[in-house]
Amino acid sequence: MLSAALPTGAAFLREHLRAPLTLVLLVAIPAFFVLVFASVLGEFATALGGDLAQRAATSISAGWAAAFLSGTLAFFQVSSSRGADRRLALAGLGSWRVATARIGAAVAMAVAVSAVAFATLSLRSGVEHPAHAAVAILAFALIYIGIGAAVGAAIRSPLEGSLVVMLAFSLDVFSGPRMTSEGGIAAWTPTRDAAELLVAAGGGMASPAADWLAVGGAAAGALAVALVAFWLGSRTRG
């Protein structure tokens, strides 16, 4: 299965990297989030009754940058290539191989956006626990692959779909840890544990094993959702 999916995934990745605007946004969005969005986030947290400190807001913004880019790219992977992917599956590659190739490309893009977001964060404020922060940022990106791909599979229109991804992202950002007073939907947001991990890593604190497990579970679950979404996007009928 992998012998066919790997080169196909590489082609899908090349397709993304050939969009000049994507490459510009890959650098511009982490810079915007870490340098500008972080301070706004801190002010919003105060207004919403949260206690997100400025340093924590800066750390968490790198995660949001990776999540935003990764989710948007995953959405467009399903939305813009549905017809061609189905044709390739029909030609004999099969929907699962196409979905595996799409997951491969999405994870490679997630690693790239996470690396850029991590580098931006390091340059801006330094990171006390760089390995922990890198993993947490990657977890943000992986979780949003699931969200972006699921929206892409459910909503065909690029405009409506991208608005739904934005809505999910906004709800997640503004109800995340320390953004609001306790309770509400904060306990249910998909990136809650990754955000806790990233805030702790930014401040030089280690996180308990339970948080790591929760983040791993959320990322694995999101990738499973994404696999099904990519399969739905390329499935054929017998």
Binding site: R14, E15, R86, L88, L90
Partner: protein
Amino acid sequence: MSAIVLRAERLEKSFHRGIWPRRRKIPVLEGATLEVRAGELVGLVGENGSGKSTLMQIVVGLLPRDGGEVDRPGKLGYCPQQPMVWEKLTVDEHFELFSRAYGMNDEQRLGTTRDLLAELDFDRYREYRVEELSGGTRQKLNLALALMHEPDLLLLDEPYTGFDWETYLRFWELSERRRDAGMGILIVSHLLAERDRLDRMYELCEGRICTC
């Protein structure tokens, strides 16, 4: 009599549009039946919106059917009405991806690619990305991808959209050569003028096949 390469029987399909309470059921196919044999060039005609492309997509496996049966033993080649390709990949990269899907080795891929590029006269565009191609050249790629593996059944959904006259004639020569070599070909068209080029023709009227 040559072997049947496609048999579609009593196909039914409706689409549901709108949101309750304005949700409507739009019947498109209501028992359409057709068959194609090896070495036949068969047309499927009908007015705009008569369900030709829907029928084709059901036969191919891109759309689920509400009822009926489809049997198509053998290798399938499908050329959709709108090119289903990736904008940022090159012509050569498309051939590479599809040759892998068809299970072709490198030698077969290189030989077939060379022949099709020459036959459809777009060899000079092989390094171009799809987004850089004209509509007609995209359509040539769209058609070539369906032909790469020499299928037993070739389904063409208005395949010459955007072709100039020379390419249009070349397309029919190409189709006739393959028909003569034993390929079964079903061409969707809304042009009755092409009747002379076809061995047989089906017409879709109100969701059913009516005699031409």
